[in-house]
Symmetry: D3
Subunit: 210 residues, 6 copies
């Protein structure tokens, strides 16, 4: 269970001895993610996706982002032909659920791979090559700020998510203007802020992994 202020996400990793059909006999493993929100995780009750009969576009987009981010720091060859599914379920939401899911999902993934390593199920000593964490930030009343809560988020002119590794490499950048476009200077400012925030998250991940 990962908590960032009022955002609580339950992250678990499950290991299966089968890979997606298009990867069979490749000798490589796969890491995928699923994301869900409980209907009452938000202030207003949301419709349950299972009852709606399909996952919405936002859910699919977030799932793909989480999976991509986690795969960037894993040596898939070293896993052998297994699939690790990381489930991220939002119990309570107050902004930044996708970045919380990546940051917490990394911890679950790391524990799963450590468990495999302890059983000599990987071909290298360290199949997780680096940390990966994510942070959201935005421009609120003219100032670049980290970790917007939901009220600030709605009012923010710009919303950006950064996914970076422990060594400072960039895995994913998403910046979106809600309303007015933003300038190059504003974006650079956000990136400096994000880099600091992610360094702190990586420290917290190290403590969690122990």
């Amino acid at each position: 269970m990962v908590k960032f202020g009022e955002t609580h996400v339950l992250c678990t990793a499950s290991l299966e001895e089968r890979v997606p059909p298009w990867m069979r006999n490749s000798g490589r493993g796969w890491v995928t993610a699923e994301y869900g929100m409980l209907p009452r995780s938000t202030g207003e009750r949301m419709r349950r996706e299972a009852s709606a009969g399909k996952q919405g576009g936002r859910t699919l987009e977030i799932q793909r982002l989480i999976g991509r981010s986690l795969r960037a720091v894993v040596d898939l060859e070293a896993l052998g032909e297994v699939q690790i599914t990381v489930d991220c379920d939002v119990i309570q939401a107050d902004g930044g659920t996708r970045t919380a899911a990546i940051t917490g999902g990394f911890v679950a993934l790391h524990q799963c791979v450590s468990w495999m390593e302890a059983r000599r199920m990987t071909t290298v000593a360290k199949a997780v090559k680096d940390h990966v964490a994510a942070i959201s930030c935005g421009i609120h009343e003219g100032t670049a700020v980290l970790d917007l809560d939901y009220a600030e988020d709605s009012a923010a002119g710009t919303d950006a998510n950064f996914v970076m590794t422990g060594k400072g490499g960039i895995v994913e950048i998403q910046g979106t203007a809600e309303g007015e476009p933003f300038s190059q200077e504003q974006f650079d400012e956000l990136m400096v802020l994000a880099r600091k925030g992610i360094a702190r998250l990586v420290d917290l991940q190290k403590m969690a992994i122990g």
Copy 2:
């Protein structure tokens, strides 16, 4: 959050000012329930229903049971034309999730109706007429036992769920033989046991409601 041993269910109630189409202009309210399990609530990861594109038969059956049980103790006329949706999400499962959902769902429902009463949104002082709680029991190695955990449940010859009110009225009885049919005497024994268990759950509900 309701915990029965290793079974943890998150129960919330949401109030909406609209009723199902077939109840419009009836002047009466409605209580319904939705039920879900997180993919990793069980030992083996289950497929996410949102991603499968539909809710399975078991989920639909449980949702209907929870809704029916809760409606049995509510004065729907007194609510006016509103709908209360009780969401029961299983975070961790070890047998008896449907009975835990009813027992915990009652507490969430009660708090929601109390909130309405405090705002004079109901036409009577007590729109919740009685307590309702549920318990599962079964016959394990020849003995009638309460609250089977998952391992016992799988081995049990008979599985029964009882839903009763605080005054001892029966709302629902479901008894199923898994394998060998059971006898009248065995069933009577289960009922005595269930009645005692439910009395204890109602006491706990009273403490929770305060």
Copy 3:
């Protein structure tokens, strides 16, 4: 075709040489049921489930009940790896369609297994171990009555279904209070009544099987 008063259900059994994926290589067979109602089987035309794009919760619940009831009297080991699908289609409905489906479905199942036995496709002489039949009853204007028709059913305070074997074993009990909860005494009274009714149905099954 089974007729109980104005309720007519068409029951057929189909044999396939394959079992559900999770039973492969178990050496055991499976019995499953599907249930449907023609759109005009009821007074008001119902929406066709095929056109709605999915089976409703009530249909799935009934299908599961029929399958469970029939499996309770079959020696699945003796069938070998085959699946018997019992289709129960309601042509005309006037209350008690699920109990009619179980009682009639047993006859179709029995004929199918006899056909297999005649071809020495089972490993024991009698793969159907006992009869199974079902009956619905309820409390109408204070009196416990059998086989409610649709008008009585709607007015009944309590609706109960019993599934029992020819030897008197209980396979399934479902009792539901519609509105007011019911008492222990009322339930006991219903059970006595059901037991008598089922004995009569088993006699009729014997005549049908010949």
Copy 4:
């Protein structure tokens, strides 16, 4: 219930006081049809469409044909803003289910409109302007034949369906070569045969309507 040899179709008509959205406030009525086959109506059990989650292309094609054929002989203006749904459910199939459904569906439709006329719910005395019936034929071993049974149908080189009115007008012609194309002469021969067969079916409809 219509029976053509071993093909049995249950046809019913249901009246509703609402029309499809695109016809509202047009002052005209609508006639539509739904078609289904019971899973065991054929020799080999078919998959139930409700359980497959959608109606197949063949079902949708047949439903549209039945609806179109019936509308051709009804004065939709005279009905007022109501919808008549004709359900055609195949209980047992041995070739020609779509033509049996049209021929029998007409009788159900006629009875429904007569019922409306008796209650002065139509603006003209005779809202059904003519009979409509359908027949299938084909070329079997070089000879044009009517009402192919299933075995002949599979072997036939050409399969044709004709929908005509009591006065001899053509409502629909569908001719399909299965395998070898057919010639103009062969098609003309089929049409002569169909015209005779439909005249006989219209006589039978008159007897059924009485």
Copy 5:
């Protein structure tokens, strides 16, 4: 890209080395078709079928017709176990899209099979046995006319599609009365007209194939 006046259809053929499950190990190939309309191909924007979540009845009916028509002139044995999928996508529509799709789909199919023949992937020299083309016609203000545009089509009392081979064999005939039934004489007149039109289309196909 096939253009018939203002109707533009993009036809392509794709070869896959697998056949539908029910044809495996038959040694024969299969030809199938898929049909779609861009949302803005018509004057009024239509709903996108992918977003509606299913293909409508009309689309499925047309796909089946195209596939059937193309298979009528192909020696499926000669292809070996491969599947050719002909995609027909309507870019701009002004009546007669299904007949344009068949006529243009034949050219795409022919090129695909020629490509196979050049690589000696077929067992005979000419796996496409004949030409196939389609034309629509109708009765507009009392006169039989070819290639109705959309405005005429809506006003036409009768709409007919003919699919014929280069040698004059009939593959498919569909004639539908929209409103008033039509007479035998009118139908014969349409057929004469269609035969002439198809002969011209076959000439154009020969030029396209070169």
Copy 6:
């Protein structure tokens, strides 16, 4: 029809006098986009989404991006309560379909709004406030390059999309590492390149609009 090298996208804008339910009575308009690929737009035939029964995650993600980008330069208040749907259908694909769709979609949107302005359907003279265009770039063999074709794209270590306005404001930035994370310097280099490319696209849009 927009062509960027071998990538051809058909973009159209459709005007409807209704807005999504959650915007009713807001007095504001809405701009949305739908995106599709013809099955044969790529080298290997893709499965048709309409036949698969749902739009994939990638399609939903792209649709949302196109809609967001176009809304960033439109004065929604000025449109009044109408919805403009921009359809982007990929006829032929060779990398960069989403950026081509935004750039071409802007032209279709601009023409639609000009048409409205000519009919005085907007409350301001210029409801489209600025240009918006998009470009994709990546790092191919160590060098930052614009407009990767499909072969380069697959081999690229980093893939980035930029959406900017005519005045240089940033609407959306998406940068993704496929495999190795990228550095700050590399990302800055890509941004300089993108800014130049977009300026050129805006010039081309001005010529197209005339």
